[in-house]
């Protein structure tokens, strides 16, 4: 199972800070997450088909998916995926 760590507003929407999900890639993981926690959908995605993510940060073991394969980034059982909003105010 992949460990998904949710932060900030995403944690509030899911009512959980950590979730375990079996998924082969980020797209599957996000789809399973929003099916399980409906309030997460508008926060995480812009489009369902094709899947387009909001301006959020998704790290797989500390590395941004945008430098891996985006939503097609493959996942392994022991991976830790951290998902949090991108914020920039000062």
């Amino acid at each position: 199972m992949v460990t998904v760590r949710l932060f900030a507003a995403f944690r509030e929407a899911a009512g959980k800070k950590e979730v375990n999900i079996s998924a082969k890639n980020i797209e599957e993981l996000i789809r399973l997450l929003i099916a399980r926690y409906k309030k997460l959908a508008p926060l995480l995605i812009k489009n369902t088909d094709p899947l387009e993510l909001e301006d959020i940060i998704v790290l797989v073991n500390g590395r941004s998916i945008w430098y891996l394969k985006g939503v097609e980034t493959k996942l392994k059982e022991e991976d830790v995926v951290s998902i949090f909003p991108l914020i920039g105010g000062g």
Partner: protein
């Protein structure tokens, strides 16, 4: 070299064994650039000035507005319409007249960034947009100086310390700029995050570990949580190439 006045003024922090006179001397020698004189910049500048950072340059191109006052504690009602750097320098020199404080009213661009950072030993990111953050990120990588990142939204904050060659850079974790917009911010959030950034600056220049290097601090004051996320260099990063 510390003066008798320095020894009295900074006595309570010099008493900290890990910091001591050596830490104070190193902080006194440091030239720190604070990019942005807003919510984060107010908190960072006040604490670095009080702590005795020897040379501070604060850069901002905006004027003070009424809607800034919920969080930008360096600026007061009487300053509305005045340049933020003038307002900041006025207060900071009253807090500590023994250090050098310079205000520069300029917008940071790709064209002027290297000259604005000339002689800097470190840069504190107190900005409100990623476009300028990325300009600074690329500049600190060229200059090989540390970059103390902070950002806020509502009750949430982030902070990390970037050291070229040692840690991921800002673009390793945030590859692209989100659309620019005025974001909601509870005034205390930049107060907390700015204090953390100032602490990182003090620790870096006085050689106190551990720092927020290779770690992103995610702070949420609504639910009272501070968490650290491990972050890694990205070999595909267009700014540092994972170096």
């Amino acid at each position: 070299m510390l003066s008798d006045k320095d020894l009295t003024r900074y006595d309570r922090q010099i008493k900290i064994e890990a910091f001591g006179k050596k830490g104070q001397e190193n902080l006194k020698k440091a030239h720190i650039v604070i990019a942005g004189a807003g919510g984060l910049g107010s908190s960072v500048a006040l604490y670095l000035t009080a702590a005795g950072a020897g040379h501070i340059t604060i850069i901002d191109h905006e004027n003070v507005e009424l809607s800034n006052l919920n969080r930008q504690i360096l600026h007061w009602e009487k300053d509305i319409g005045k340049s933020k750097v003038d307002s900041a320098v006025e207060k900071l020199t009253q807090l500590n007249s023994d250090i050098e404080i310079l205000g520069i009213k300029e917008k940071i661009t790709e064209g002027n960034v290297l000259s604005l950072l000339k002689g800097a030993d470190g840069v504190v990111d107190c900005l409100d947009n990623f476009k300028t953050r990325f300009i600074l990120n690329d500049a600190i990588l060229k200059l090989r100086i540390p970059f103390f990142h902070g950002a806020c939204y509502e009750f949430e904050g982030r902070a990390t310390t970037i050291i070229p060659g040692r840690t991921p850079c800002l673009r390793c974790i945030i590859p692209r700029s989100p659309p620019e917009k005025k974001v909601p911010i509870m005034g205390t959030t930049p107060g907390t995050i700015g204090t953390i950034q100032a602490t990182e600056v003090i620790k870096f220049f006085s050689g106190i570990d551990p720092l927020l290097t290779g770690k992103l601090l995610v702070y949420d004051s609504r639910y009272f949580t501070y968490e650290l996320i491990r972050i890694e260099k990205n070999p595909e990063c267009p700014s540092c190439g994972g170096q």
